[in-house]
Symmetry: D2
Subunit: 372 residues, 4 copies
C-alpha cells in the first residue's frame, strides 16, 4: 500500500534520498537463469547520469551500481536482486535559502503538508535522483525481456519537443539520438535546441519538453483488462517520473479531433499474418498489445529550480522570495529520456510475467488463432 514500489510480478521498490549515503532498489520476481552483471546495467545509468554536457546539472556522480544479491555465478537465481548506488557528491552546502522556504513547483510544501517533516537537502526523496534506481531496475528488465522473448523488444526513447520547438518527423533517425546531448532523433532539431537552450540557461530560466518512447517487437496479448491495461500502467509509470504532467498513447489527444473512420487501424493479411495498416492506437487495443510498436509520449514541465526570483512563503508564514543557486538542469526533459525507456521496459517485463501467470505462455506470446 505504500507507494515506493511498482509492478506486481516483477516488483521493484526504490529507496534513498538525494543527499543520503546511497540509493537503490530491490527487485522481487526476477526469473531465474537470466545472465546479469553490473556491466549490463552501467550503460543505462551512464546515459542518465548528470554532468555530461553543459545542458545538464553539474552534480558529479559516477552512479556506479552494485548488485548485492540475487545473482550467482553470473545468473539470476530467482531471489531478490538488490541494487545499490552510492551518493558521492552530497556537496556540503548552505541550505539556509531553502530549508524553510517552499520552492514553487517543488514538493517542499506538499511533503511538509503530508508528513509534517521533510528532508530539505536537495529535495530529499522528491529529487529526480531517485530515477537512477529506476534506470538500474530497467536494465534488469531489459535483460529479462531479452532472455524470454525472441526477438527481444527494442525500447528506444527520444526528445521530440523542447519548448516550442518540435522535431521534424521527416528527419527521424534513431541513430541521431546518441549523437547529440539532447537525445534528439533529428539532427536539425538538435542544432536548433542547442542555441535555444543556451539562451534559456543563460537567462537563469528553464523550459519544458516532450519525450517519446517506442517499443518494437512487442508480442500481442500483453496487458490486463480492465484496470491494469498496458496503457493504464504505462500512463501511471510515466506520470510517476518527476515533473511529468501528461501522457499519451498512440495519437493521444489528437484522437479527440479524429473521426471513427480515420482513427480505425484497419487490418489486412501479410501472408499468413494479420497486420495493421496504421497504428493510431499506439499498439494497444482494449488495454492489450496488438503486436505493433507500443508508442507513448509524455510532457515534462520546465525545471522548477531557476535562478529567477519567485514569490513564495516560508514555513513560518512569512512572504518571501526564493531563487535557486547552484547546479540544475535547464531542461529536465532531456534526462527523462532514459528514465522513460526504463519505465517502458519495467512495464513490459511486469506484464509479460503477469501474462504468464494466467495463460502460461512460454516465450513469445502469439495470437492463438483457429486453423483455417
Amino acid at each position: 500500500m505504500p507507494g515506493n514500489a511498482f509492478g506486481q510480478a516483477f516488483t521493484f521498490t526504490t529507496w534513498g534520498e538525494s543527499h543520503g549515503p546511497a540509493l537503490g532498489c530491490v527487485i522481487d520476481g526476477v526469473p531465474p537463469q537470466v545472465p546479469l552483471s553490473e556491466a549490463d546495467l552501467q550503460g543505462w545509468l551512464d546515459a542518465r547520469k548528470p554532468g555530461q554536457s553543459r545542458y545538464t546539472t553539474q552534480r558529479r556522480e559516477s552512479d556506479t551500481v552494485r548488485i548485492l544479491s540475487g545473482v550467482f555465478e553470473g545468473l539470476t537465481t530467482g531471489t531478490p536482486v538488490c541494487l545499490m548506488i552510492e551518493n558521492e557528491d552530497q556537496r556540503s552546502k548552505d541550505y539556509s535559502e531553502i530549508k524553510d522556504k517552499f520552492r514553487p513547483g517543488h514538493a517542499d510544501y506538499t511533503y511538509l503538508a503530508k508528513y509534517g517533516i521533510r528532508d530539505y537537502r536537495g529535495g530529499g526523496r522528491s529529487s529526480a535522483r531517485e530515477t537512477a534506481a529506476r534506470v538500474a531496475a530497467g536494465g534488469v528488465a531489459r535483460r529479462v525481456l531479452e532472455h524470454l522473448l525472441a526477438p527481444a523488444p527494442l525500447i528506444r526513447g527520444a526528445l521530440v519537443q523542447m519548448g516550442p520547438h518540435e522535431v521534424d518527423r521527416a528527419n527521424w533517425d534513431w541513430a541521431q539520438v546518441g549523437a547529440n546531448p539532447f537525445f534528439a532523433p533529428d539532427a536539425t532539431a538538435a542544432t536548433t535546441w542547442a542555441g535555444y537552450l543556451d539562451e534559456v540557461r543563460k537567462a537563469g530560466s528553464s523550459i519544458g519538453a516532450v519525450v517519446e518512447v517506442v517499443a518494437d517487437n512487442v508480442p500481442a496479448g500483453l496487458g490486463e483488462p480492465v484496470y491494469d491495461k498496458i496503457d493504464s500502467d504505462l500512463a501511471k509509470a510515466m506520470m510517476s517520473i518527476n515533473a511529468v504532467k501528461g501522457v499519451e498513447i498512440g495519437n493521444g489527444f489528437a484522437a479527440a479531433a479524429t473521426s471513427g473512420e480515420d482513427n480505425a487501424d484497419e487490418m489486412r493479411m501479410a501472408g499468413e499474418t494479420p497486420t495493421f495498416l496504421t497504428n493510431n492506437n499506439g499498439g494497444a487495443l482494449g488495454g492489450i498489445t496488438t503486436g505493433q510498436p507500443l508508442v507513448c509520449r509524455f510532457a515534462v514541465k520546465p525545471t522548477s529550480s531557476i535562478t529567477v526570483a519567485r514569490q513564495t512563503v516560508d514555513r513560518f508564514g512569512n512572504e518571501v522570495e526564493v531563487q535557486t543557486k547552484g547546479r540544475h538542469d535547464p531542461c529536465v526533459g532531456i534526462r527523462a529520456v532514459p528514465v522513460g525507456e526504463a519505465m517502458m521496459a519495467l512495464v513490459l517485463c511486469d506484464h509479460l510475467l503477469r501474462h504468464r501467470a494466467q495463460t502460461g505462455a512460454h516465450g513469445p506470446v502469439t495470437p492463438a488463432f483457429d486453423e483455417n
Copy 2:
C-alpha cells in the same frame, strides 16, 4: 495481480460482461458507519446510462443498482459492499457479422490473441458497459468522502472538446453541465455540438472528445510518492476508461512550451493560510495534493463502432470488410464524463484512506506547520 481491481485501501473489483446476466463490483475497505442506500448511487448511474438522448446508444437499460452486502440499517458496517446491476437489454441478435471478424479499433483481436477465446456478444468484457460498475462504486466513494471530510470534495466533470470544437472557457458555467445532453459547461458550445454531432451521426461516423474533471475542496497532503503519486494514479484511472488515449494534469502538454518562471505556482499568505497564485500544476506537486483544485483532462478516441465499412481480417485469415449495425454512441466521450468523475472520486477516496494508514490523520488533512 489480475487486472480487474483498483485501489489499495478502498479496493473495488468489477465483474460482468456486456451481455451476461448482470454486472457489478465488490468494494473492500469501506469505512464503517457511513450512511449508504441504493438511492445514493442511482443518480450517478442515471447520468451515465444509455438511451437518454439521440446522441447516445439506444440500448435500454434501467441500470438499477442493488446493494447485496455491507450495509446494515442504513449504515456501512466495514464489510465488503457488493453492488449488482442486472442487464436487461441483452437483445437477442445476429452476431454473424462480428463473431469471427476483428472490428478495427476494438479489442476483438487482442482479446483473442491474449486468451485464445472471446465473448463476442457486444464486446463482452471489453464493452464500456463495465463502466456502470465503476460509476456505482464511485457513488460509494463520494459518500465516504462526504463522511470523512468537511467540506466534502466537490467532484465535477465536463466535456471540453468535441472533435475540433472546444468550449470557450470564458463561458464556463458548471450549472450548464446538467442542462444539455453533452455535459457541456458552455451553452454556446452545446448548441454547436448538437448540430455537429447530428451530422456525424447521420454520416454513420463518430468523433473523439476531451473530458475535464475537477475536484475542489481536496485537502493538501494526499498521494503516495513516488510511484503512487496522486497524479500517477489519476493517469492510470483515466487511461483505464474505454477509448481513453491521453491524460493531463494541470497544464499538461502545454507545460512543454512553458518557461520555469511562467510555470511556477507562486505562493503568498491569505491571512494565516498559505495560498497559490496560480494552479499550473493542477493541484499536485511531487505527487501530493496542494489543497488547490485537482484538475485532470483526458482524450477519448472516436467510437470504433461505425456504420462506415472498414477493412479487416477474420479469425480464419480472410480479408473482409466490417461495419457495425445497430445502436452505438456517435461520441463515447459524452458518457465518459460521469465515468471520469467516478474515477476521480475513487482515486481520492483510496488515497485518503491510504494516507490515514501512514499518518493517522482524522478528517481534513491539513498542513502541519510549525508555529510562527
Copy 3:
C-alpha cells in the same frame, strides 16, 4: 489492503453476511478456456451445506450457486468469475437475546470494538456462512488445477479427531469419508463419534476437532520463498477458517520432540526419479513443494454457540448471561472439512499461477536436473 480477498494470481474476494440477501465471491485471474459450469461447483457446496444430518445446524439452505460472469459457451474467458448464492433461510427471529450481548467465543465484542457497529443477525459477516463462498471458489480452483496439471492434484480432507477421540490411522480408508456424516476416514471412529456427539448435543454443549487435508499429485517446485512459502500460505488459509486455532504441516508440533536424524526425509532413486523415504516435512522444504503429498492439519475450537448459559456483558456495560437458542452445529469441525479442502485447492491454484509468472513453466512443474 482490506482483508476480504485471498490469493495473488488467482485472487478471490468474498462478500455477504449470514442474513443478507446473498453471498458470493469474485475470482480474478482464472485462466482462459477452462471448462466450467454450475454443476462443477454444486457438489462441493452440497458437501458443506447445513442440515444434512442431526449433527449439523438445521438451517435450511439449498446453497444453489449461480455463475454471473466469466464463462462463455461452457469455457472460462479469462475475465472475472462472479459466483452468487442467495440466502433462503434468513429466518425472521427475535434477536433481542444477542442484539446487545457479547456472546463468549464469538466476534460480537471485537467487531463492535473495531467498527463501532455490527450486524448482529446470525453473526453477520463473522458467520461461518461465509465459507460457502470459499467452497464455491475452491470448486473453480479444482477445475483449473485439473485443466493445467496431469495428473491433477487429488485433494481430500478428513476429520481425524473429535474431542478426545482420534481416528486410528491403521484403519484409514478414504472411501469411508463419504460414508458417514463426520467425514471420518475410519468407520470405527465414526461409530464412536456418533454416540459421543449425541451426548454433546443433548447436553447443549459443543466440542472441538482436528481436520486433516492431504493433496496428492502436487508437482515439485510450488511456493514462493521466503514469506509466501506454500506452508505459510496454507497456515494463513486454514487459520482464516472460522474457529480454527492451530495449523500444522507434516509432523507439525511433534517435530519439536524429534531428532535431526529421525526428522530427515532421506532420499533414494526410484529408477530415474528422486524419491523420499518418509514425509515428515509434509511435502514442503524451504517453503517449496517436494512432489510428495502436501499434508496439513488444523484444530477447530468447539462451537461457541451453546445452550449452556455463560456469563458475559452487554454493550451498555451490564453483567448478563447469554445462551444460544436455535440451530447450531455441536461440532463445527465437521463442516470445516470441505472448507479446508477448498482452501488447499485455492492455495495450490494460486501458487501454480504465481510460479508460472516467474518461471513460465507449462503444465506439470518438474525438477530441472542436469543430465547425468
Copy 4:
C-alpha cells in the same frame, strides 16, 4: 506477487543470501516523525546473532546494521527505510560435499526443482541468515508501535519446549529469559536443557523446540476479517520462519478436546471496562484482537544440518550419503525466539496501520461502546 515481502501497510522486503556481500530490507510505509537510530535496532540483532554460546553456530558475524535511507535528523520522514547488514564471515570453504547433493530436510532439492539453479553456499537464500533482516525490521516496527500506542505493546518470546522437555509454567519468570542461553522463562528448565543439549550436540544430532510469543498491551480492534485475520497473519508470519512446522493461537490444538463451555472466555465488568475471565482464544476472536494478551506458539523442527550421515541423492541421480561439517545450531529453535518476537511486532504494526486506513483511529484503538 513474488514472495520476499510481508505486510500491506507496513511493508518490508528482504534481500540477500547467506554468503553474498550483504543482506537487508526495505521498509515502505513507516509513519513519519518516529525517533529511529541504528542503536534502536542493534540490540535486537545482538539477541539473534550467532556465536554467543556453545549452543549456537560458531559463525562470527557482528551483524552491524546501517540505516541507508528514510531517517533525517533522528526522525523517520515517511520515505522508505533501507537497512543493510554486511556479511563478514563468508568463510571460504570447500563446498564439494554439498554442491551437488540434496541435504535431507533442507531446501536444496526444492530450490533446484523450482528455479533450475541454486546458490549452494550456506543454503543461499534459504539460510536462516535471512532472519537477521526480519529482526532489524522488527526493531523498526517496535519503535513505531511505541510511538503510536500508549502504553506500547510489550512483545516477549520464550522457548517453552526443547525436545521432550517442556518448561514448568508454574515457574514462568520473564526475567529469566535474558539470563540463560536458551531464552527459557524457567530457570530449572534452562538447567535441564543445558545438559540435554550438550548431549545432542556431542552426538552430532539436533533437536526441535517450541517457541511462545506473547504481546501485552495490544488494543482491541486490530485484524482484518476474513482472510487477513490477526491470527491468520500471525500464522503466516510464524510459518514463514525457517524450520517452523506448526502454529497455534491461544489454546491451539488443545481446543480440539475442549467443550464449548470450557473454551468460552466469559466476560465481566472491571469497573467501567469489559474484561475477560480467561484467554483460551489467545487474544483474538473472529480474527480481531480482544485487548487481551495475544498468545502465539510455534514448533521448530530439529536443525537439518547434522554430522550424522544420512542417505540422499545428488543432482546427477546418484545415491549418496551426506553429512554436514562445520558450524551449526544443535537447536535452531533457540535463535527463533527473537525472530518470532520480530514477526509479532511486524504483524501488529502492519495491522495497526491497516486499521487506521479504514477507521482512522488515532493512538490506542479502543472499543466504541454506546453510552450506558
